[in-house]
Symmetry: C2
Subunit: 243 residues, 2 copies
């Protein structure tokens, strides 16, 4: 316990990943990971600032929060940093009109975005939407652009559903990067801007914060590169073979 | 012409790519590229040895040859080096039992291969077969293997059909490489073994051969790395923007 106290000295804020840490997604909405509802409740009763920091891009933020509330979590929409709203802000700032390769479930987040005559491609965890036809369309849009811009909501390799491991958006981002000879801009973990926006929301500096996640690259590595401490849980996609 | 004569000095054999050089695939079997039927006929009347060297992996070799014959080409199955037969030989030599992520059209080439209890994944240009479900299955098979082996029939970025540019197997190979943290073994161009087997078939040394293709990486770069000369045609996927 002494070691823990030392490692956590000066921590004022906690960033919590959602998928694989609080719950595993899946049929019927998924399942809370044992102990996580209580852990969140306890953190919230403590003096620590808490922010949820997710790459979830299949569902609108409101729907994700509703689902977690039904599983018993103390969470509200305003406490969640998610890539879809951050992407919309970037699109507006840069005058980008996306071709969207995204899950139908999250399309409403982009309702107010001009998608006519696209000058970029936005890719998110589309799940079954990653058909050959949809991938080929995104590829063709990029190949026709003078300056191809590819924005990816996260770059995770895979995540865990209750039914097993599932390919994440990062694999498809790599496919388009290779086919088109471009490098994607990542909105979401492990992008430093994304972590910083989560920290700003709770008024905590990086050196005062700890990130808790199940992804050694997206959560732990990304947070550490921003000057945060980080902790990998042994739930979600964690595996002793693929730490 | 003097320059050409010099460049071609000592050439005894010609390797010809098929898709984008002889014809563009597409609805109704595709279309011969103007002048190519005559060019092949003329090469065959010359003292040069001719070998067809393709990464085509959607159709069995016999079907591809039948299609080209109907388009007017002087070509027979025994003159074609293609990745599916080469892959079957490797699988047998190494006792590999593949999970096949391939086009239904080419499945018959693997009829005599044991696919029970897979210990590797073979990926080819599956076209519409590259659904999320099929990709996820291949991913899950690889993740469950102690020593994951991924064999890719070519690693092309894209090819041209009569209807436009189409994503090729290389993009999906990259997706699985990234998701699983493995490096694929490529059977087909630009693998040196593949070029060498095509040269052996016509008894020509690399320095006596020229490769003619539309892919600057798979055809031209690959052949040059093997000590061949190479020539890029301006048909197929060739584009002044993406040479």
């Amino acid at each position: 316990m002494a070691a823990w106290a030392e490692r956590l000295a000066g921590v004022r804020g906690v960033l919590l990943d959602i998928s694989g840490v609080l719950y595993d997604s899946g049929a019927g909405g998924g399942a809370a990971i044992p102990g996580s509802v209580e852990a969140v409740a306890r953190l919230k009763r403590s003096p620590l600032k808490v922010r949820f920091c997710t790459n979830e891009s299949q569902k609108p933020r409101a729907e994700l929060v509703g689902l977690l509330q039904r599983l018993g979590f103390d969470i509200s929409e305003g406490e969640v940093t998610a890539p879809a709203p951050a992407t919309c802000q970037i699109l507006k700032e840069r005058g980008l009109r996306p071709h969207l390769l995204i899950h139908d479930g999250v399309r409403s987040e982009f309702d107010h975005i001009d998608t006519s005559n696209p000058n970029c491609v936005v890719i998110a965890d589309a799940g079954e939407g990653f058909s050959y036809q949809n991938m080929n369309k995104a590829f063709q849009v990029l190949m026709e652009l003078e300056n191809p811009v590819l924005i990816s909501l996260g770059k995770g390799r895979y995540y865990k559903e209750t039914s097993g491991l599932m390919l994440d958006v990062g694999a498809y981002m790599k496919a388009l990067e290779y086919a088109c000879g471009v490098e994607a801009e990542v909105v979401g973990k492990p992008s430093p801007e994304f972590f910083k926006s989560a920290l700003q929301a709770i008024g905590v500096e990086a050196h005062e914060a700890i990130m808790i996640g199940d992804d050694i690259v997206g959560d732990v590595g990304g947070a550490q590169r921003c000057g945060m401490r980080a902790l990998q849980v042994r739930t979600g996609k964690y595996s002793p073979r693929y730490p």
